[in-house]
Structure formats: C-alpha cells, structure tokens
C-alpha cells in the first residue's frame, strides 16, 4: 500500500525523534516531527512500524499523548518481555527515525464542541496517556467543562505526568485523584487500592448530570471500571472504553 496516498487511506510516513523525556523509571515520552501530519483529535492513537536489518517488521499502536494542535508525541511504557517498547524507551535517540501512520480512531474521542457535560476520566497505568491529551486539549480550548481524573497506579513514582497533573486544581475545573494499589509513601492520605464501585461512588459525577466517561487501561481494569459505572446508572453509550490487553500499550508489548 505504500506510495499510494489515496485520500482517506492511511499511509506510512517517516517520523523523526525531536525530544525524549523520561516520565518514570520505565516510561518515556517521545516527541516527533512528522512533516505531513494531518492533525489529530484528543484520544486518538497511531501505529508505528519498526523494520529490522533483516527485514523483520513489528507494528504497535500507541495513544497520542499531546493535545490537538501540539506536535505529535507518544508515551511508551517499557515492558520487560516486549519486542518494541525496550527499543523505544532505551535505544532510541534524538534524530532517529521510524515509520508511523495515523491519526487513528473515531470512537475514543473527546470533542469540546460536542461533549460539554461533566467529564470523567479513569486511567489504569499507562492508560492515562490519551486522557492526558484530552485534559491538555480541554485547557488549550478554554473549555469550562468540569473534569475529574481518577488515576490508578502501583506506586507514586509510577504516576506518569505527575508534575503536570499536580498543577491542575479545582478552581480550573479539574480534579485529579490518584489511587495507589501496591505501595504508598509514608504519610499518604490519598486513596489506596483498586478502583471499585465504592470508590467510584464518591468520585464519579452522578448519572443525572449526563456525564461522559473515558476509561483506559489494562483489559481487566477497564472491564471492572466500566461495569461499575454502568452499575451507578451510566448508560453504556456514555462510557467510552479502550483496552490495552494484559498490560502496556494497545496491540501488546
């Protein structure tokens, strides 16, 4: 299909790494220059394709971490048994190039002109990546839609974008709530344990406000959270979900 740039079709193009930012011990954000990027929407993803010296190819999908209007960025978690993520998080250098295609997706999308009711974002681990794009876009567009992010991480050092998320506050219309499932720092007064119906009861907007929920993370996490939200009266069509599989990025490690 390469070389046949038909309108509406996806074509592979070359991206150049412009900057690398370590987010946690195992997670890195990769800023990219993509000359023919058509622009993206908040919540979309892209496919990347790596080709080895022997011609072996591996494709993976990654959520776009930047807001529409910002340069394309992805945030990648290193999976120990991964085939692609160790390369992206350890070996990749500024100026390196690889192929990508996108933007992709029309379902897991937040549109500030259309979606003006309270926004509930629920992230498990690196599932926070597309939700960060949504929060940044909300800020860039001056949206006053109230938003809550409930973010489940194993430990505080595992929280991706922590400095950025900590800058949000209630006066801006954004509440960020962490729950730490594995270990908490001394004196931690925040939430602990997995996201369940009891925790959501205190955090999720009441269904009567017609909220829109975006849930992203490992498959089992998304199933549990989406099920609990429907139990709280959210219509299934108001709970948008994206599942990353057992762990890591959509499409596997």
């Amino acid at each position: 299909m390469e070389g046949t740039a038909v309108r509406g079709r996806l074509t592979w193009q070359v991206a150049t790494v412009s900057e690398l930012t370590d987010e946690t011990a195992t997670v890195r954000t990769i800023d990219l220059q993509v000359p023919d990027w058509a622009g993206h929407r908040a919540g979309q993803h892209l496919d990347i394709r790596l080709t080895g010296d022997d011609g072996y190819r591996a494709e993976r999908s990654y959520s776009i971490a930047s807001a529409p209007g910002e340069p394309v960025a992805i945030t990648v978690e290193r999976l120990e048994d991964g085939e692609v993520s160790p390369y992206l998080t350890e070996d990749l250098r500024q100026g390196d190039q690889f192929e990508l295609r996108g933007p992709i997706g029309g379902y897991f999308i937040w549109d500030p002109a259309r979606d003006t009711t309270p926004l509930l974002l629920v992230a498990g681990g690196s599932g926070v990546v597309p939700l960060r794009s949504i929060l940044r876009y909300r800020e860039r567009t001056g949206s006053t839609t109230p938003a809550r992010l409930l973010y489940s991480a194993r430990t505080l050092p595992d929280v991706i974008y922590r400095d950025e998320l900590d800058r949000y506050n209630h006066d801006q219309g954004v509440d960020v709530i962490y729950t730490l499932t594995r270990q908490q720092p001394p004196g931690w007064t925040g939430r602990t344990g997995r996201v369940n119906a009891a925790m959501l009861t205190g955090i999720a907007w009441p269904a009567s406000q017609n909220p829109l929920a975006f849930v992203c993370g490992p498959t089992s996490f998304v199933e549990a959270v989406a099920g609990a939200l429907v139990g709280l009266g959210y219509p299934p069509g108001r709970v948008k979900t994206e599942r990353f599989g057992a762990t890591g990025a959509p499409g596997g490690p």
Partner: protein, 83 residues
C-alpha cells in the same frame, strides 16, 4: 490472553475499508448486539486478527494476510454501518 478491543485495529480497519471504522456500528449476526466496532473483543495473536461479539462471543470478522494479500471474512456480521 486478555482480549483487546476494536480501537486496537483502527489502523487495520482503515487500511481495509478506506474509512475510519472504530465508531462504525456493527450488528452481530448471531445475537443481534449492536454497538461500535470499538467495543468488540479483538484477538491480535490468533493466526490473523479475530474480532468477536462482546455479548455472545461469535466471530464477527477475521483479517489475515496470505502471501501479501489482505483476506477479510465478515460472515459473522449482520450489518456494518460506517458513519
């Protein structure tokens, strides 16, 4: 292995159909479930890519590449409606 969902094959679907398809409405040919393709269960490590109904697990779509050609089986769908 945990299933992914239809979001994960947005690129593949766009390659095959020439159109954004994760928000397209699929109708299961077995149980009449209707919902966005994004909500289906997707297995990418079967031989080929297998898409199943979230309600009754019927195989809705199969995508495989045979000698460089994309092969598509949509037999399990009663309807597929792109917006």
């Amino acid at each position: 292995m945990d299933a992914l969902d239809g979001n994960a094959i947005g690129g593949l679907l766009q390659e095959v159909f020439g159109h954004e398809m994760t928000a397209a409405l699929a109708t299961c040919g077995s149980c009449d479930w209707v919902g966005p393709v994004a909500e289906t269960m997707v297995y990418v490590r079967a031989p080929g890519t297998v898409v199943r109904c979230r309600t009754c697990t019927r195989v809705l779509m199969v995508f495989a590449e045979v000698r460089g050609r994309k092969c598509v089986d949509l037999q399990g769908l009663a309807a597929l409606q792109a917006s």
